[in-house]
């Protein structure tokens, strides 16, 4: 049946062609609907604050660290961050009890240059994603309760009673008239937002430096401008008061995030 075979072949060819046309059309429709995803038609250069996004996979990766391996890697961090995560310098953050997602994200931001530090960037560059998770798991396990046996120096500063009223109000109630949320809604103990550190045992000088950094845009690795929006609205007095309050250990009753 030469004629019917020819017909079938023609029909197949036609089918293949229409299928190809349909596929091409579908691709164009999808690209048209999602061109913005590829950055088409975006006039401004896109600014990305951090490469980390808290998808389930990232959270699983960041919290899968092995604390024992982390213990070995963290010996490199001792000199600045202290043997048990309490630093000897007021400019260096305490890492004891720090949520592992926080440590992992900051290491990733140092690695990608989203947060700049001449000290931390080369160190973070030498760590792989798994190493970061291990170190994060190690510091996460370090207790924040004071232990007379070890050499931790916290608190490094004492609070000024004048500052306590200002800071206490901001931490527990926030300021509705300016749209400032209470600090404890994200930084604990009453609520934690993924990626927000517990501030209960943080150094005052370091905290002040970070608030100033967020306010001026020097540090801008917060996802969706959370900290920048808040910090820019704090007055100088409030910034100092908050840093002192946390730095004096007045919020030490704060718990670590539960269930992570």
């Amino acid at each position: 049946m030469p004629d019917s075979r020819w017909l079938a072949k023609g029909r197949d060819r036609l089918r293949g062609r229409s299928r190809r046309a349909g596929l091409t059309l579908a691709i164009f429709v999808l690209l048209g609907a999602h061109g913005d995803l590829l950055g088409w038609g975006a006039a401004d250069p896109v600014r990305i604050p951090s490469n980390v996004a808290w998808t389930a996979r990232t959270i699983a990766m960041a919290s899968s660290g092995n604390a024992l391996r982390g213990l070995l890697i963290a010996r490199r961090c001792d000199r600045c961050h202290g043997h048990e995560g309490f630093s000897s310098s007021p400019l260096v953050p305490n890492l004891a009890g720090m949520d592992r997602l926080v440590v992992w994200k900051q290491l990733d931001d140092f690695r990608s240059g989203k947060r700049s530090s001449t000290v931390m960037q080369p160190i973070a560059n030498s760590l792989s994603l798994d190493d970061s998770a291990d170190v994060a798991a190690y510091y996460w396990m370090m207790p924040i309760a004071p232990d007379p046996q070890d050499d931790r120096a916290f608190p490094q500063s004492l609070s000024d009673p004048k500052h306590e009223a200002v800071a206490g109000r901001l931490i527990t109630k926030g300021d509705g008239s300016r749209g400032l949320p209470p600090c404890q809604a994200c930084h604990g103990p009453i609520g934690f937002v993924t990626g927000a550190p517990s501030l209960a045992t943080q150094n005052a000088t370091y905290l002040l430096e970070q608030i100033e950094g967020f306010a001026s845009g020097r540090r801008a690795n917060d996802i969706n401008m959370r900290m920048r929006s808040v910090a820019v609205q704090l007055t100088d007095e409030e910034r100092r008061a908050l840093a002192q309050f946390y730095g004096a250990g007045l919020a030490e009753w704060s718990a670590r995030p539960a269930g992570r």
């Binding site: 079938a8 995803l37 250069p45 300016r178 749209g179 969706n224 609205q233």
Partner: protein, 203 residues
């Protein structure tokens, strides 16, 4: 002639039987094709559910469902809600689009300058839970739902400051989740830089 007729009818019959055979053949092959397609579809679904237990992560749903679905976890990485495109933007066809993110416990940008007497297209989405943007003076309410871009149209006749609250309980910081919208005449709006349009939040 008769023989010829006979041969023609014979050949017709033979073509008919061949055609039937061919039909049966194609029918069975079509059936097997359908079977393979269905099986691969089922296997793909099984693979997707095992590999991507969270639908939000597969990206497939977002790819197939159009521009008003969005992954709430990756707003800052790509799409129309990256931080450099937040806030009011003048459209080429006239009108102004305002893009905002609602998140625990802020509206970002927290203070927006918009022009009066111009139709505003507000596109808002949530980075975490459901929020509701409420303009106090006009009573306009816009839900912000994670995973979706909610578009709504507003217009401000009177210049001035419009406080906005969150009207959907969203967590311990809900009571201070407020933001402001400042309406100014269009000429004044046009003079402002992009930075100035979103940085009216005060100390």
């Amino acid at each position: 002639m008769e023989q010829d007729k006979g041969s023609i009818s014979n050949s017709r019959i033979s073509t008919a039987t061949h055609a039937e055979e061919h039909l049966a053949e194609t029918g069975s092959s079509a059936k097997s094709v359908v079977r393979v397609v269905l099986l691969s579809l089922v296997l793909t679904c099984v693979w997707l559910t095992v590999r991507f237990p969270y639908e939000a992560e597969s990206g497939l749903e977002y790819l197939l469902s159009g521009p008003n679905r969005i992954n709430p976890q990756t707003l800052h990485l790509r799409g129309e809600f990256v931080e450099s495109s937040l806030g009011p933007a003048e459209e080429s066809g006239g009108g102004v689009t305002v893009r905002m993110i609602a998140e625990q416990y802020l509206f970002v940008p927290q203070c927006v300058v918009v022009p009066t007497g111009v139709p505003l297209r507000v596109r808002i989405t949530s980075a975490d839970v459901v929020h509701e943007l409420t303009v106090n003076d006009t009573g306009d309410e816009i839900k912000a739902v994670p995973g979706y871009v909610v578009e709504s149209h507003l217009e401000f006749k009177r210049a001035g400051e419009y406080p906005m609250h969150c009207l959907e309980f969203c967590g311990p910081g809900h009571y201070t989740m407020r933001s402001r919208l400042i309406a100014v005449p269009l000429e004044q709006f046009r003079l402002l830089s992009r930075e100035a349009r979103i940085s009216c939040a005060r100390q």
